[in-house]
């Protein structure tokens, strides 16, 4: 009996042991030698590696996720207040693009066209008025990984219109965005909701973001914005050396436009519909350890539906005639000959872009890195009112570019590049650049650079042929040209920019400073032409405009950015810029010397209290300025924003609640123009990741 018991126990033990052994085997993954020495696809290929700031040919400001988050912004362009030398104006312009204006070193109208703006290498610069329709971009701030801002012309790398600088917005790689994210914002004049899903299907990683934005705009302005957007990005790893990337975005919604006080025909208050989408495909091929090839093609389409009717013209036109020296009786008699009280204008604008670009990056010897490539673009523009025709205008552009980074020795680095561009507006142009970076110590660099760039005129300056004709009753011939814009056929504007830069990195403290001198020639403006003869029509004196090349403009200044890690949990970002514009206003355009604030200061202080709580304080100051175009004189602005956030998590959920108060002291300053008054606004955001 005892023996039997023993045997039974032994058997049980053996079985138990077997089970344990079995369980163990299942737990332990058998690791093979391939897990150690097997091939891994090349990820940080030569084209993916960016130059460190100390090797870059010009001053570069990098804004990362953490900074974007800490700033508490809801409108993307607001982030550029944290870049030295940048001016951001709320709600500039009245029609088509009543968005933020973002400019660098001044000379910008509401449709600031002096900077190239790219999202993952795709140009979002609009050809009609120039500039970027920021609120219409189908992009969610939460998807942005970082923003690289090149402060200075960089045509040799990014093409013409990389005139004063380049903004390159880079979104998160789909493989980093797995899971779900919900973000909801509610506040003064603002409601937003976004949902994002990221996943993986074998070798395909993808991300889809969709959202809705309600922006009621500023008080006393007809500027509300409603935007629905969807954005998708996917990366397909074909094999170790080839990958395909896909991007797609679509946005639509309504915009309120116009400003009755400014003009009773074109700026009549109204609502219009916007619609845009884009599709992109990119093939990345890793040729060898030191050589990459990239081929990218995209298409984008943008529509603004804007058919409207003017206000009653008679009274207003009579007033204009009297202002222009006519006797009231004559003026009244004249407006009596108008056929109708009102005119209708078809301000629909469709633009479409096709772009193909090839780029080869390689390193023939270890101290040389070469990028070269070419691109071709077609812009189709349909703008019956502005172009004076229902035909679609075609703008073609071809480019060839090359850039060499030569590391002469440990201390000396040289960047040389050039771009040749041929376009339908201004023919063939060349934009070269060169810079030398000298490392005085391993963590301090002096940079000397000179670069030239061209700004291709936009449609306003080159091709606008717009008129509002007020028909008259018989027997009076033809009608009255209320407004007239004539094709400018101008030359490109040229800039030669010289700079001396300094970069120091001392661990807790880093400093970027530069003094610059920008020489602009053939400055393009669209002045009124007082004695313009309107062919076949009676002209309303002084209301005709045309693009023309003017005189020279000189911009001198100094700008600096300091990053200071005060403690492990406290960071300070500090920016200052001094910009001095000198030009003869008779040859260029009036107010050009005031088109950039002389002094701009911005600062962002962030502090983490513990792993859950953090807060940030932002300060922005711009001295008085008069922006061109629709801008007018505004005084010194001081603005303070505060953000407090608390993170939380439970199980598989991570989240954050944050509150932002913009313009904490309710300063009621005017920005860009006297019709834009900044007031205090608060909002709350809830974010959930799961």
């Amino acid at each position: 009996m005892t023996n039997k018991k023993h045997l039974l126990l032994l058997m049980l033990l053996v079985i138990a042991n077997l089970q344990i052994a079995h369980a163990k085997e299942e737990n332990v993954q058998i690791v093979s030698e391939d897990d150690y020495i097997g091939d891994v696809p090349k990820v940080l290929t030569v084209s993916r590696l960016s130059q460190p700031l100390s090797d870059a040919p010009s001053a570069v400001t990098v804004i990362d996720r953490a900074t974007i988050r800490a700033s508490g912004i809801v409108d993307l362009p607001e982030i550029f207040r944290l870049v030295p030398g940048f001016y951001v104006g709320t709600n500039a312009g009245y029609i088509y693009n009543s968005n933020h204006v973002v400019s660098y070193h001044g000379m910008a109208t509401a449709y600031a066209g002096t900077m190239q703006v790219l999202i993952n290498g795709r140009s979002v610069y609009t050809p009609v008025f120039g500039g970027v329709k920021w609120s219409e971009l189908p992009i969610a701030i939460a998807d942005i990984e970082r923003i690289e801002v090149t402060r200075g012309p960089n045509a040799a790398s990014y093409g013409a219109n990389s005139y004063f600088g380049v903004i390159n917005i880079l979104t998160e790689h789909p493989s980093e965005a797995e899971g779900n994210k919900i973000s909801v914002t509610h506040g003064d004049g603002r409601n937003e909701a976004f949902y994002r899903h990221g996943g993986k299907l074998g070798d395909l990683s993808y991300r889809i973001t969709t959202g809705y934005r309600e922006d009621d705009g500023l008080d006393n302005r007809n500027d509300f914005k409603r935007t629905r957007l969807l954005n998708a990005q996917a990366d397909y790893q074909i094999n170790d050396t080839n990958s395909l990337e896909f991007e797609f975005g679509i946005a639509n919604g309504n915009r309120a436009d116009g400003e009755a006080a400014k003009d009773y025909v074109l700026f009549v208050p109204r609502e219009r519909e916007i619609f845009n989408h884009y599709e992109l495909i990119r093939w990345q091929h890793n040729i060898s350890a030191d050589s990459d090839f990239k081929l990218q093609a995209y298409h984008s389409f943008d529509r603004s539906n804007d058919n409207f009717t003017s206000t009653n013209l008679r009274a207003n036109a009579a007033k204009l005639f009297i202002e222009n020296g006519f006797l009231p009786a004559v003026a009244n008699a004249f407006v009596g000959t108008f056929l109708n009280d009102q005119v209708s204008i078809n301000n629909d604008i469709d633009t479409e872009r096709f772009d193909i670009e090839a780029q080869h990056t390689f390193s023939p010897v270890s101290n040389l890195r070469v990028v070269w490539g070419g691109s071709t673009r077609l812009d189709n523009t349909y703008a019956p009112y502005w172009l004076g025709t229902k035909a679609t205008d075609r703008f073609k552009l071809q480019r060839l570019f090359g850039h060499v980074e030569w590391r002469i020795n440990d201390k000396l680095l040289m960047n040389v590049g050039s771009m040749v561009e041929h376009n339908s507006f201004t023919g063939t142009d060349i934009s070269p650049r060169a810079s030398i970076n000298f490392k005085i110590t391993p963590n301090q660099t002096i940079r000397l650079g000179v670069s030239s760039a061209l700004r291709t005129p936009n449609y306003v300056e080159e091709k606008f042929n717009a008129k509002v004709i007020i028909p008259r009753v018989a027997p009076f011939p033809a009608g009255v040209a209320y407004t007239f814009q004539d094709a400018g056929n101008v030359n490109p504007e040229k800039i030669v920019s010289r700079e001396i830069g300094y970069l120091g990195d001392f661990g807790q403290f880093s400093l970027d400073a530069k003094i610059f001198n920008d020489e602009i020639s053939d400055f393009i403006s669209t002045p009124r032409i007082p004695n313009f003869v309107t062919p076949g029509f009676t002209n309303l004196a002084g209301r005709a405009r045309s693009g023309e090349n003017g005189g020279d403009v000189l911009v001198n200044g100094f700008e600096t950015q300091a990053k200071w890690r005060l403690t492990k949990d406290t960071n300070l970002l500090l920016n200052y810029a001094y910009v001095d514009i000198t030009a003869n206003e008779d040859d260029t355009t009036s107010n050009i010397n005031q088109s950039a604030p002389r002094h701009t200061i911005s600062a962002l202080l962030t502090h983490r209290f513990d792993s859950n709580w953090d807060a940030s304080l932002a300060y922005y100051q711009t001295s008085k300025t008069t922006q061109l175009g629709d801008g007018n004189p505004v005084d010194l602005i001081r603005k303070c924003d505060i953000r407090v956030a608390r993170k939380f998590s439970s199980g598989n959920w991570n989240g954050e609640v944050s509150g932002v108060v913009e313009n904490l002291f309710d300063s009621h300053d005017q920005e860009f123009a006297d019709y834009n008054t900044l007031k205090r606004r608060a909002r709350i955001n809830l974010r959930l990741d799961f």
Partner: protein, 324 residues
């Protein structure tokens, strides 16, 4: 209580018999040379055979016969049983060789340490007769590399998976010895990878990759390296391939290094048959730095050879200290 004692004594007996069986036949067996078993006729394995033979010639050990068996062509490994030494290249070869009779000395090359341990346990072989030159570089060497490349480094982040989590303590200790604060995150599920990686990158100066197929594999290389790069934090890899993919640097041993070490063992074994040295980490190694990545991260790094010399010197002093 009584029963357990009895079982204990039974296992002792078995053990005794086993040991007896292990050693006795050796005395009677004639020398039959070395058999190299290949998991597959891959370039790495074929190179190993060449380097191994060259090493024997270079050290004037022409008398050692070398026979090569490809596991894919040989159903039964039994032919290897009378070898004086079986060198198994790769996990498959070592698994097969572990099933040979327990008197055949087997040494694994191109074998990860966790796999060697698992095979040691499952085969019931003894260490004196079953050994390996594992693929794992000693942690002290890796930490020395990190300290040499980044002298200012204070905190090092490490992600551990189901396989590598057992080394947590070793890693922490090795960091402590070098006044490096090591913070470890264990990944239990694939979905945790990126969030935990981001957490580690946010609070540490660099990431050290410890091989674990649940974390570091072909598919995760892209998100891991991209995320680290976007945080502007360097990754220290464990292979040439990972460095080429985008890690900053690694210590690694190539085929030649491992063949040299294996040849040394083979020669020694010939002199003292039947007593293999304990499993060991690679003795010879190289340093590989991705200078393009270094430049892009704005890290000034000396050339690979100079770093190697520093590491070698460090290891010699450590060795001296250990002896005293």
């Amino acid at each position: 209580m009584n029963k357990i004692k009895k079982i204990g004594s039974l296992s002792k007996l078995v053990h005794f018999v086993l040991v007896l069986v292990l050693f006795v036949p050796f005395l009677s067996h004639a020398y039959t040379g070395i058999t190299i078993v290949l998991s597959a006729p891959s370039q790495t394995n074929l190179d190993f055979v060449d380097s191994f033979k060259e090493e024997l010639i270079a050290t004037k050990n022409h008398n050692l016969k070398v026979k090569v068996i490809d596991l894919q062509e040989t159903e039964k490994l039994i032919v290897a049983e009378n070898s004086e030494l079986v060198i198994a290249l790769g996990v498959k070869a070592l698994t097969a060789a572990s099933k040979l009779k327990h008197t055949t000395p087997v040494i694994g090359v191109f074998t990860p340490l966790p796999t060697f341990n698992a095979l040691l346990e499952s085969s019931g072989r003894d260490l004196g007769i079953f050994s390996a030159i594992v693929l794992d570089q000693p942690y002290s060497r890796q930490i020395s590399l990190i300290k040499t490349v980044l002298p200012e480094i204070k905190t090092l982040g490490i992600l551990l998976g189901s396989t590598s989590s057992r080394y947590a303590e070793h890693l922490r200790d090795e960091g402590e010895k070098n006044s490096l604060n090591v913070s470890l995150e264990t990944i239990n599920d694939e979905s945790e990878l990126i969030p935990k990686l981001q957490k580690v990158l946010e609070s540490n100066d660099a990431l050290l990759a410890i091989p674990d197929p649940s974390i570091y594999n072909r598919e995760t290389a892209q998100p891991i390296l991209l995320t680290s790069y976007r945080h502007q934090k360097p990754v220290f890899g464990y292979s040439q391939s990972y460095v080429r993919a985008g890690a900053l640097a690694a210590v690694y041993s190539n085929t030649k290094h491992l063949a040299k070490q294996a040849a040394e063992i083979a020669i020694k074994t010939q002199q003292a048959p039947g007593l293999l040295p304990p499993p060991q980490t690679p003795k010879y190694f190289s340093v590989l730095v991705n200078h393009q990545v270094a430049r892009s991260l704005n890290i000034t790094v000396m050339n690979d050879e100079d770093i190697y010399k520093i590491l070698l010197k460090l290891e010699m002093t450590q060795h001296e200290e250990a002896r005293h």
